[in-house]
Amino acid sequence: MTARAPPANRKLSNMLMADFKQCLTLYEKKEYAEAIKRADHILTQKPDHGETLAVKGLCRYHQDSPVEGRSLINAGMKNDPESYIIWHVLALLERSEKNYHAALKAYQKSLTIDPSNQNVLRDLSLMQIQTREYEPLVITRRKQLTDKPEIRANWTGLAVALFLKGDYATAARTLAAYEESAPEKEPKDKTQSDDIENCELALFRNKCLIEAKEYDLALKDLEELENKTSKRHIPDQQSILEHRCDIYIRQGKTKDAQRLTRVLLRRNPHDRALYRQLEKVLGIQDNNQLKSVMYKKLAQKYPRSDCPRSMPLEFLEGQAFDEAADAYVSTLIHRRVPSAFMNVKHLYKNPAKALSIGAIAQRIFDGATEDLSGASDFLWSACFLAQHFSKLGDQNKALKFIDNAIEHTPTLVELHLTRAKILKRMGAVNKGAEAANAARELDLQDRYLNTKAAKYTLRANNADDIEQAIKLISMFTRNDTSGTGVQDLHDMQGYWFLSELARRQRRNGDGPLALKRHKAALNVFSEFEHEQLDFHLYALRKGTMNAYIDMLQWEDKLYKSKKFIRSTRGIIETYIALWDTKPDCGCGAVIPGSFPLKAVDYNASTTVKKKKKKKTNEGSAEAKQNPNGLPTPEHRHDADPEGLKLVKNVDLLETALVHAKKLAEVGDSLGLVFQAEIYLRQNKYMLALQSLNKLKASDAASPYASVLAKVAEAQLNGDDSTAQNLKDMTLKMLPKLFNETESDAVATARLAFSVPSYKELAGELLKGLVSENATAAALAVWAANSLGLELEDLAKEQYPELEVPLPN
């Protein structure tokens, strides 16, 4: 295409042109202040020079003035909308802002104006892969390859793009073409990384052939790779075997597949997936008798592997199960395996199996001799039985076993941890935290124990739990000059800590802080997404395509993770609750309000008073303590220590809506329910109905959702009395909204808060929760308490150890 003549205002005198070029160089060197000086110089003479405005904008953006930066770029764009430089600048800004789709469009536009720009072409391909636009990606990569066929990464880049698009045959051909055309290095020039790259490339090419269903070609290819005299030989025998076995399975060549699966099993008898694969290729998946024979033989063959002993427990029944379980469980206990109970816990879905396993442990317990030779059997069977009874719900019996064992040997760490768990299940959360801490104190270098103790502390009910927990985790983190590791756990993506903290803050009724921590927890996931960007180029340059493709596939499932969903639900719930507790929200008009939070001062100043640095040498003492021997990082300035910026001048419902949409997008049906709840609060009944209809169309429709839909309909028709009736129904159904009992109590109370006449009914519902389990009971008491209802005595009757959460 022919470029249009540039607009008159783009042209610069030779002198100013030199300035502009320098300005660009300075920007690239990240000398923003200097670059801006040049830009200003140009602008004094040509104030509407678009490209200069844009580059200045980009510099301002990087100087922490994002708003001004963007408006300068927009101004530049207005003056000169056909400049590839300005579009490129805009793309860079959007990319920094992580708006990958917008960046993609801007790169594309820049490229239509200046099709020869290699850098823009490369960056465009990055955006395309980041946004999973595989079709256009193939076109971009093909162009890169045509322009620069001498670069290896351009060939593999195209092949990866084709693979991702699903065009495996062309991907394989591309790689073959490269291997045939690539100049061969002299053996003496070959480095180890060349070998690794060749190996990766060969295996990737083979994978493409397999996916393209070119099985015969793929097998021939593997023969060549295996052949030591071939110049394509690779040393990775394991992968060759795996590929070949995979081909045989796909081809239905069962005899060969059986043989190779057994070879693979011999190489690694600890891989559960291989045992399942063997069942499958033997065609005995559904024949328990034959499977049992298979596992027995394998158990003899691989005496050190857990798999052939534990896996049959899943399908065996009756006496066969009892015998196999006896052999397995008693070995674990005799061998003092701390995870013994964890290994069989999943079998407790089946009550008969649970009983049988309990009986095995009981037999060992009863048979343990009083002298030292019996001590180990006594301790480990007692610990096992404690877990057994706890799992079956008999916490008192569990506690007796564990206390008995602790009296015998108070220095066995596992006993204290088990005790902590039992206490937690009894509702004795404070004592549970003490027990976890007792375990920790026995072995200070064990990070697992430290983490457990911190987690139990966050779930306890003492006023200083949060500080205590932070003190604990800081024993293992890289602490900043404030002396704590909270920042480090953000940097190190310590999701468990951030999400536990969020839940605790929510329980404390501190909405903004809960939001802040939920946000940090969610940030862990978006960081995973953004960090991919670094690998698109790196992996191709290093030639590690196989791991790279695994990574992309992992990233595709990232937001479907339970943790992401849990934190997203948490943040939405908190936003809605904050909105409901705002004095002027008018909530309760449509559907009932949320469980209350502490009042937020929306007028409070969010500027942080910088504390004057104490003039002690505390900092240096901390530095010496640092376990990693690294210099202590500076305590980064927290611009929003109380999370107020997340709520002040923020449309709480709109923000919640963004998260609810994401939740629906990743397939959590609550996403649509939340959307409806938000729309109802915004009086957007039509939109609420639409979300609920979408839910109805999926198989996740819930009675609660259909009642919500009727509320919306009644509102649309102006039918107040029906709306009121239906509201009564929502109250009854709300506890079914969430699966987690924790939310049941919260949800039930939510309704009662907004409509005082619901109080009695809420009381009944909360009473029902008390009988579920200690955790639910504690929450019900907490919720009732806030409603001015008394449930504590009832709960304590059922759970004498119950420690009720702090009242607000």
Partner: protein
């Protein structure tokens, strides 16, 4: 490999010494007793049975007035969890200290024992300790305060 092994006291396993002493011994000890236990090197040891700490000894060096060299090793605490007693674990801990004394040319060991704890007194006697003194109300922290014997074992020069 023997089921019983001795190991050094470290900041990380100090909690084990605390735990053992607190369940076995009648008196409780101050925080500084424990933090200083980390500074005495081989004079503090944990005994492990099947990798579980079940016994511990903690001693200190005594330097007589006007002397520069330590004149004896004083056993501040020795304790074995009751289910693990009478298996030679206490003896192992004591032997370790005795060997260390010999290696470092410390001529004697000493310990205080409750006057009415005949079993322990017998235990020490069997291992070459002799009663040299009786200290009235030595265990001040017990209510009522109890008396103690000071017991000493002289080590042979050429051991």
């Amino acid at each position: 490999m023997s089921k019983v092994q001795l190991d050094d006291l470290t900041p990380n396993n100090l909690g084990m010494l605390k735990r053992i002493n607190s369940v076995v011994l009648p008196t409780s000890y101050t925080d500084s007793f424990y933090t200083e236990a980390l500074t005495v090197g081989q004079l503090a040891k944990l005994a492990y049975y099947n990798e579980i700490p079940v016994g511990a000894i903690r001693c200190c060096l005594e330097v007589a007035p006007e002397h520069t060299k330590p004149s004896r090793i004083y056993i501040m605490t020795i304790a074995v969890l009751s289910p693990y007693r009478e298996n030679g674990i206490g003896g192992m801990l004591l032997d370790h200290i005795e060997r260390y004394a010999a290696e470092t040319f410390v001529p004697e060991l000493s310990v205080h024992a409750l006057t009415d704890d005949t079993e322990v007194i017998e235990w020490y006697k069997k291992r070459g300790f002799e009663i040299v003194d009786e200290v009235k109300g030595y265990y001040k922290r017990l209510t009522p305060a109890k008396d103690a014997y000071l017991m000493v074992k002289k080590l042979k020069k050429d051991q």
